[in-house]
């Protein structure tokens, strides 16, 4: 059995709970550093994709997981980031500047998309953001002089001040640094007063407002930061795929992002990583499973989407805290050993209540 004895207030908001936690994270960091030297290129390439999804997921987690604003428009920010970096680099602007511009432009689009959130909530907000995503995609398709329309754009290899990411290893290094920075940034916001204000908005707007939280400002900040990170992820994605066209940024991408944070565990930073790994690994698992399925099912084109739907439903019904919830239960089992009982981790059921004054 393990006990935590706190001796200062600062312990409540430090990054690692204790020495043991710091040790495990150090080990994880070591594994990530050695990964490019031991893993075959295929797996490394999957890790790069996971890293890119972690960046976007950290953004969406802040908005949906912590601030409670659902968004089906994140494919738009992903697209804006990807196309900004591609177009700017085609015009000779170096990657670091183009990368920054991609983030800022996405944040600006996020700000605009966030405006309806001041009046809409839940399903209505989801539909409004979905509409915004369609508008953005349509603009990219039609604005052929800049984006090359449906024919798409080739993206050069990522290069930072002479460092050219011409191998998967080098790209991995860049993505790993950005993913780590994104996670840290969101974690910092979450443990700051602003993050608390976002959580307050999620649980009760009336109460948040009466305690001095400016709803408009905080919601728009959440949208902008979320879009910024997703835009940066899009910029990295463009360099990973090296060819982008509007068809890659459909509503399915938004859904993939949402599935990622829901299955990972809504409202947890661990969940972002678990969810990203899951979303990247699932298509491979589906491909493997195809060999064992009857022909009539395996040949269906919507198989992957159907699997997403089933897995998402299963999680929402059986384990709303997601993969992170499962992970935490396993951890608690060991840290409480041998005193763990079935009820130890039972969720407190609270139902959404309508706002009353």
């Amino acid at each position: 059995m393990k006990f935590y004895k706190k001796t200062s207030y600062a312990e409540d908001f430090r990054l690692f709970r204790d020495g043991a936690a710091a040790f495990w994270y150090a080990l994880l960091a070591l594994a990530l550093v050695t990964a490019p030297f031991v893993l075959p290129t295929y797996y490394l390439s999957q890790l790069v994709l996971i890293g890119i999804y972690v960046v976007a997921g950290a953004g969406l987690m802040l908005l949906s997981g912590f601030c409670g604003q659902i968004s089906l428009g994140h494919s738009a920010f992903f697209a804006v980031g990807a196309f900004t970096v591609a177009v700017l680099e085609k015009n000779g602007i170096p990657f670091p500047l183009a990368f920054l511009a991609a983030g800022i432009l996405s944040a600006a689009v996020g700000f605009v998309v966030g405006l309806p959130a001041l009046r809409l909530a839940g399903m209505y907000l989801a539909i409004a953001t979905l509409a915004a995503a369609f508008i953005v995609t349509e603009v990219i398709v039609r604005w052929e002089s800049v984006t090359n329309g449906s024919s798409g754009l080739n993206v050069a290899k990522l290069s930072i001040l002479g460092f050219v990411a011409d191998s998967e290893k080098k790209l991995y290094a860049v993505v790993a640094v950005v993913a780590l920075a994104a996670m840290l940034a969101v974690r910092n916001i979450v443990r700051s007063p602003l993050g608390l204000a976002m959580m307050a908005i999620r649980d009760s707007e009336t109460a948040a407002q009466s305690m001095g939280v400016p709803l408009m400002r905080v919601k728009l900040t959440a949208f902008a930061v979320s879009a910024l990170l997703t835009g940066l992820a899009g910029a990295l994605y463009a360099h990973k795929i090296q060819f982008i066209d509007p068809d890659q940024f459909t509503i399915l991408v938004s859904i993939e992002f949402l599935v990622m944070i829901f299955i990972g565990g809504i409202g947890s930073m661990h969940g972002v990583v678990f969810g990203a790994a899951f979303v990247i690994a699932l298509p491979q698992l589906v491909a493997v499973a195809k060999d064992y399925l009857p022909q009539t099912i395996a040949q269906q084109s919507g198989l992957q989407a159907a699997v997403y739907a089933i897995v998402l439903l299963a999680f929402i019904l059986a384990e709303p805290t997601g993969l992170y919830g499962i992970w935490r239960r396993i951890k608690t089992y060991f840290s409480m050993f041998p005193f763990y009982r079935k009820g130890s981790q039972r969720r407190v059921k609270s139902f959404a209540k309508s706002e009353t004054w």
Partner: protein, 253 residues
């Protein structure tokens, strides 16, 4: 000059005059109770003061500043904190986080500093935490500090909500039915706390309350309302004797 001056304030919802021409001044360090039957407009008056509703007529002046036009989130910055009749807490957060949000109005750091979690943010958070711990000590919430609000009994949630308002360090505290749903023991605690807040922390308190024993025990003045209008204003005993008040509760001749 009075701390809170409400002058001829009124609001209509469609044809209904929910609050109609209420004028009242609350002095600094006063405990002021509002009573009245259901639908008298008591909570609506609170919502007008905390700017959730837009008054149709009248002015509300707090500490010499006209707050009739300020945005709702500025009200607590001006120095007015409130609780809600049906408890409006952040259910998926711990008691500590709920109280920490009470400190939000004192937050000085912006997005950039918070994203980098600079030493400034750290110091600010520690200072807030020390203030919150004072509130936790005062309200004896220590054993609930790290518990999620959603799982707490009603009486404790009520006290957490009071704590959140106190964490904001307001000059004026608006309590909407502080004793509703509390047992006798908890109500007694509430009486002590309300008196301590005035006597030790110099707070001014306006409360909506139905429990006349609590009202008589703590309040300096009582306002009785009915159908949005003022019925009687004065010491608790006077208001209770007022024939109009009895008629409002029991139905007049």
């Amino acid at each position: 000059m009075s701390l809170l001056e409400i002058a001829d304030v009124g609001i209509s919802f469609g044809g209904l005059r929910a609050v109609d021409g209420v004028s009242v001044s609350v002095e600094e360090r006063e405990i002021f109770a509002i009573i009245g039957p259901n639908g008298a407009g008591k909570t609506t008056l609170f919502n007008l003061i905390s700017r959730i509703y837009e008054p149709t007529t009248g002015r509300i002046v707090f500490a010499g500043r006209d707050i009739t036009q300020i945005p709702p989130h500025e009200v607590v910055r001006a120095g007015i904190a409130r609780t809600f009749q049906n408890i409006n807490l952040f259910d998926n957060a711990t008691v500590l986080d709920n109280l920490m949000l009470g400190r939000y109005r004192h937050c000085r750091s912006g997005l950039l500093r918070q994203t980098l979690f600079t030493p400034f943010v750290r110091r600010e958070k520690l200072a807030d935490r020390r203030k919150v711990e004072e509130v936790i000590d005062f309200l004896e919430l220590g054993k609930y500090r790290d518990v999620l609000v959603a799982g707490l009994p009603y009486g404790v949630r009520k006290i957490v909500e009071l704590g959140r308002a106190l964490a904001a360090e307001p000059r004026l505290l608006l309590l909407d039915e502080p004793s509703s749903g509390l047992n006798v023991e908890e109500t007694n605690d509430m009486v002590f706390w309300i008196q301590d807040l005035r006597d030790d922390l110099d707070m001014t308190i306006v409360m909506i309350e139905h429990d006349m024993s609590l009202v008589s025990a703590v309040s300096d003045r009582v306002l009785a309302m009915s159908s949005g209008r003022m019925l009687a204003l004065g010491a608790a005993a006077e208001v209770q004797r007022d024939p109009g008040v009895a008629a409002a509760y029991l139905g007049g001749p």
